[in-house]
C-alpha cells in the first residue's frame, strides 16, 4: 500500500473520539415478529399436511384394484370407482377437444394478429375502395375498413372480458351449461353436456396461459421469418407456435387439472345420479347418459350418513389427488424440459 507516501495521518496519530458502539442486543419485538410470520406460514403448511394425512389415513385401507375397477354399488364394501374414473376420462377428452383449439386460436389472434398495426392495411383498403365500383365488393371493403377501425376496441373488450370470466364462480358456468346445453340444445344430462360446460369453464384459463406462452417467444423470431418472405401467418405457424407449444401445453394441463376437480358445475348440469352404469370411453357414445365423474362420486359418498362411505370417499379423493399430482408433474417436467431462455 502507498500509505508511506501519502499525507494521511501516520498510524500513530490518535483516532477521532466517538461514542462507543452499542453492543448487539436482544430485540424482543423483532424476534416476536419473526416468530409470528414463521408460525403463520407453519400453520398454513400444517393444515395442508393435516388435510392430506387425514384423507390418506382414512382412505388408504379402501384402496384396491377392485375399488378402481368396480362398479358403483349401494353397498360401501363393494362400491367401486370405475364409473367415476371413466367418466372423468371422457369429460377430459371432451373438454380438451373443445377448449384447446378454440382457446389457442383465440390466443393466437389476440396476441399475434389483433394488435398488428392497421394503418398500412387501412390505406391499402382505401385505395382499393376508390378503384372499385361493384356494389357488393364495395360493401365488403367497407366492412373490412370498419372492422380495422373498431378492432382495437373489440380487442380491449375481449381482454377485459377474459380476465373477468376467469373470476366468475364455477357454479355460474354450471347454470350456463344447464340452460344452454341441457335446456336449449337438448343434450341430455350427460357426459357430453358436462364436458362442454367444463370446456367453457376453462376456456379463459387456456387463453390466458397460451397468450403468456406466445408472448414469451421473442418478436425477433417472427421478424426473422418475415424478413425471409414469410407471411405473418406462416411466421406464426412455423416459428412462433412451435416455440410456444410447450408453454401452451403446460397451461392446458394445468387448466384441465382444474376441470377434473370441479364438482359444482357438474352437479348443476347433471344432478347427482345414482346408477350402476359404466360409461363407455367413447366420448360420443350415446349410451353415456348419466353423468359420472370422480368429484361427483366423492360428493355422493361424502354426503351419505354411514361412516363406511366416508372411507371410500377418502379413497376416491386419494385417486383424484394422485391424478392431479401426475398431471401437475407432467406440466412441470414439460415446462422445465422445453423452457428456453431467449
Amino acid at each position: 500500500m502507498s500509505t508511506a507516501e501519502n499525507s494521511t495521518p501516520t498510524p500513530a496519530a490518535p483516532a477521532a473520539t466517538v461514542r462507543p458502539l452499542a453492543k448487539k442486543r436482544a430485540r424482543p419485538s423483532e424476534q416476536a415478529f419473526k416468530w409470528l410470520v414463521v408460525i403463520l406460514t407453519g400453520i398454513t403448511l400444517a393444515m395442508l399436511a393435516w388435510l392430506i394425512t387425514s384423507v390418506v389415513l382414512k382412505g388408504a385401507g379402501s384402496l384396491s384394484w377392485d375399488f378402481l375397477t368396480g362398479k358403483p354399488s349401494a353397498n360401501p364394501a363393494k362400491a367401486g370407482f370405475n364409473s367415476a374414473l371413466r367418466g372423468s376420462i371422457v369429460l377430459m377428452i371432451i373438454t380438451i377437444a373443445v377448449a384447446w383449439p378454440i382457446g389457442v386460436a383465440a390466443a393466437l389472434y389476440l396476441e399475434k394478429f389483433a394488435t398488428q398495426s392497421a394503418a398500412l392495411a387501412e390505406r391499402r383498403l382505401a385505395t382499393k375502395l376508390e378503384a372499385t365500383t361493384g356494389g357488393a365488393m364495395r360493401a365488403w371493403l367497407h366492412t373490412r375498413l370498419w372492422w380495422l377501425r373498431v378492432r382495437p376496441k373489440v380487442v380491449h373488450l375481449v381482454d377485459v372480458n377474459i380476465s373477468n370470466l376467469a373470476a366468475v364462480p364455477s357454479i355460474i358456468y354450471g347454470l350456463l351449461g344447464l340452460a344452454i346445453f341441457v335446456g336449449i340444445m337438448g343434450i341430455q344430462k350427460s357426459l357430453l353436456a358436462g364436458g362442454l360446460t367444463l370446456a367453457v369453464l376453462i376456456l379463459p384459463i387456456i387463453i390466458i396461459a397460451s397468450r403468456e406462452a406466445l408472448r414469451a417467444v421473442p418478436v425477433s423470431i417472427e421478424q426473422g421469418a418475415m424478413a425471409l418472405g414469410a407471411t405473418r401467418w406462416q411466421a406464426v405457424r412455423r416459428q412462433v407456435f412451435p416455440a410456444a407449444l410447450p408453454g401452451i401445453l403446460t397451461g392446458t394441463i394445468l387448466a384441465v387439472s382444474r376441470a377434473i376437480g370441479e364438482t359444482a358445475p357438474l352437479i348443476v348440469v347433471g344432478g347427482i345420479v345414482f346408477g350402476t352404469a359404466v360409461p363407455s370411453l367413447n366420448p360420443l357414445d350415446a349410451g353415456n347418459e348419466a353423468l359420472f365423474a370422480m368429484p361427483l362420486q366423492i360428493y355422493f359418498w361424502t354426503d351419505q350418513p354411514q361412516a363406511s362411505f366416508q372411507a371410500i370417499a377418502a379413497a376416491g379423493i386419494i385417486v383424484l389427488l394422485a391424478t392431479l399430482l401426475v398431471m401437475n408433474l407432467v406440466a412441470i417436467i414439460l415446462r422445465n424440459r422445453y423452457s428456453k431462455r431467449w
Binding site: M1, T3, S7, T8, A13, A15, A16, V18, R19, L21
Partner: protein, 292 residues
C-alpha cells in the same frame, strides 16, 4: 476550512493534471481536512460474495469531518467497500467481510456490535434516489422514529434546511415524495439521513442519476455537510471527486491467484496529491483518461 478555495483550485488541476506541481500539493495537504484525525481505520479489509472475493487488502484511514472520495473503474469494489462501513453487506446472503474497521477505538465489524444501531449512526445515501412511497414529511420522520428521536416539526424543518430543500418543499410537506424532481428526491434522501443525526454519511454515487444542475446542488451541499459530518463518497466522476473531496482513494481491479477479478486499493492520498502527482501508475492512467 478553505472549502471554497479548494473547489476552485482543484478545477484547473483537472485540466492540467500532469502539469500540477507536487510542491504545491504538499503544502496544501496540511491545510485540508484530510489531515483530521481518522474516524475509520480500515485494516486489510476483504469482502467475499460466496466463493468470489470482491475486494481484498484495503487498508486506509478516513479522516473526520472531511470528504473522502472512493474512485476507480467500474467493478473495482468501491461500493462494496463503502457498504462495509455501515455493515450493509450483512444483508446480502452469502456475503462475508474480513479484516477490521476501527470506528474510534472499536472494530465495527466485530460480531458483538449491533449493526442496526450502527446504521443509525452511519447514514447512507444511495445511487438512485430512493424515497419511501410516503409524504415528504413522513420520509424525514421515518428515520427519526426508528432511532427514537421525537419527530418535531422543528427537527423536520432543520433537516430539510440542512439539505437545502426547505424552501422548495415547505408548503408541500404532505405531498408524495415521488412528486419531487430527481435532484429534490436525492436531497430529500440526504435530509432523511441527516435527520437521524448520524456521525458519518456514506454516499454511493449520489449524483449518477441526476442532471448537471441537480448534481451541482448536491455537490455544494456535500461541502456544507462536511463541516458537521464525515462523508465518504463513491463516485465514478473524477471531476466530482476533484471538486468536492479532501482525500481520494483510488481502487482498481486485479486478477487474483485463481484468475478471478478482485478489487484492490491502489492508492490513497489528498485530493491534490492524487490528481497532481499520483504515485501509482494505474492511478495516473485512470485519471488522465487512458483507462476506464
Amino acid at each position: 476550512m478553505t472549502t471554497d478555495v479548494d473547489a476552485e483550485t482543484n478545477a484547473p488541476i483537472q485540466i492540467s493534471v500532469a502539469a500540477g506541481s507536487s510542491a504545491q500539493a504538499g503544502s496544501a495537504a496540511t491545510a485540508t481536512p484530510a489531515g483530521n484525525p481518522p474516524i475509520f481505520r480500515m485494516q486489510d479489509l476483504g469482502v467475499w460474495y460466496g466463493s468470489h472475493q470482491a475486494v481484498r487488502g484495503v487498508t486506509m484511514d478516513v479522516p473526520r469531518n472531511a470528504i473522502t472520495a472512493l474512485i476507480g473503474p467500474s467493478g473495482c469494489g468501491k461500493s462494496t467497500t463503502l457498504r462495509c462501513l455501515n455493515r450493509m453487506n450483512d444483508l446480502v446472503p452469502g456475503a462475508r467481510v474480513e479484516g477490521t474497521i476501527m470506528f474510534g477505538d472499536e472494530n465495527l465489524l466485530s460480531s458483538d456490535v449491533d449493526p442496526v444501531d450502527l446504521r443509525g449512526r452511519i447514514g447512507m445515501v444511495f445511487q438512485k434516489p430512493n424515497p419511501f412511497p410516503k409524504s415528504i414529511r413522513d420520509n424525514i420522520e421515518f428515520g427519526m422514529k426508528v432511532n427514537g428521536i421525537k419527530p418535531t416539526p422543528e427537527r423536520v424543518e432543520q433537516a430539510l434546511r440542512d439539505a437545502a430543500l426547505w424552501d422548495e418543499v415547505k408548503d408541500r410537506l404532505k405531498e408524495e415524495a415521488f412528486s419531487l424532481s430527481g435532484g429534490q428526491q436525492q436531497r430529500l434522501c440526504i435530509a432523511r439521513a441527516i435527520a437521524v443525526e448520524p456521525e458519518v454519511i456514506l454516499m454511493d454515487e449520489p449524483c449518477s442519476a441526476l442532471d448537471p444542475i441537480a448534481t451541482l446542488a448536491i455537490e455544494e451541499l456535500m461541502r456544507k455537510l462536511a463541516e458537521r459530518f464525515t462523508l465518504v463518497v463513491v463516485t465514478h466522476n473524477m471531476q466530482q471527486a476533484a471538486r468536492v473531496s479532501d482525500q481520494v482513494a483510488f481502487m482498481t481491479v486485479e486478477g487474483s491467484d485463481e484468475g478471478e477479478r478482485c478489487g484492490v486499493l491502489a492508492e490513497v492520498g489528498t485530493t491534490r496529491q492524487i490528481f497532481s502527482a499520483p504515485s501509482d501508475p494505474r492511478t495516473e492512467a485512470y485519471i488522465t483518461g487512458r483507462v476506464g
